[in-house]
Symmetry: C2
Subunit: 105 residues, 2 copies
Amino acid sequence: MGSGRVDDVFDALGDPGRRSLVREIAARGDATATELAAELPVTRQAVAKQLAVLAEAGLLRATRSGRETRYAVTPGPLRDAVAWMVEVGAAWDERLARLRDTAAR
Amino acid sequence: MGSGRVDDVFDALGDPGRRSLVREIAARGDATATELAAELPVTRQAVAKQLAVLAEAGLLRATRSGRETRYAVTPGPLRDAVAWMVEVGAAWDERLARLRDTAAR
DNA sequence: TTATTACGCAACCACACGGTTGCACATCAA
DNA sequence: TTGATGTGCAACCGTGTGGTTGCGTAATAA
């Protein structure tokens, strides 16, 4: 169950840098590669690469307007990943199943 | 918040093979490296290495009895990871609500 | 127009890491 | 004891990938 998309999400979230990007974008609402790179010790191209991976995994949505491309968080895949964790956890600990209510919302 | 332990969990779950191991152990209840490797196209040492990573992240608990070491899932860290995802998702939702208010005006 | 800004793409590089082989030690059965 | 089984540790290897530099192009500003 839910292995296809969920796998991509975990792969994408497997990198600390990418997790920071998701966190930052979620906090800002949206952002461009240039904006994000401005406050990081890496180049814009590096950030753009990671944003591409996140977008490929479905975690971000890219919208180009004029000469800039803005990225925003797509909560759907996150919910799938949460479901996976709850599922695995539920097999071992029924207490975790209660989180399903909170997460499913 | 939620950066220390959660980061280890995502790093550990970032590998497809390790996710399979967690899934399998959760289904069995517990298992040893030898048992798991018996049904995989990799060596016991490879499995043992991954189990060590998972245990280091707090996802597994190792219990040695006699000459065998059995691993079982520890649900705590999974809960933290779920919390992180819900948190990020919530931040997005909040932002979205704010945009909705602005647009309605 | 010219200059500037923001992207995207393509090589290239270095290092982390998953996997392997080999070996030594501990435990249980004979 | 001897033999089989289960681990753990160390060294080595190949590759995936995050990061960089460099360049070409589209969109705004002057």
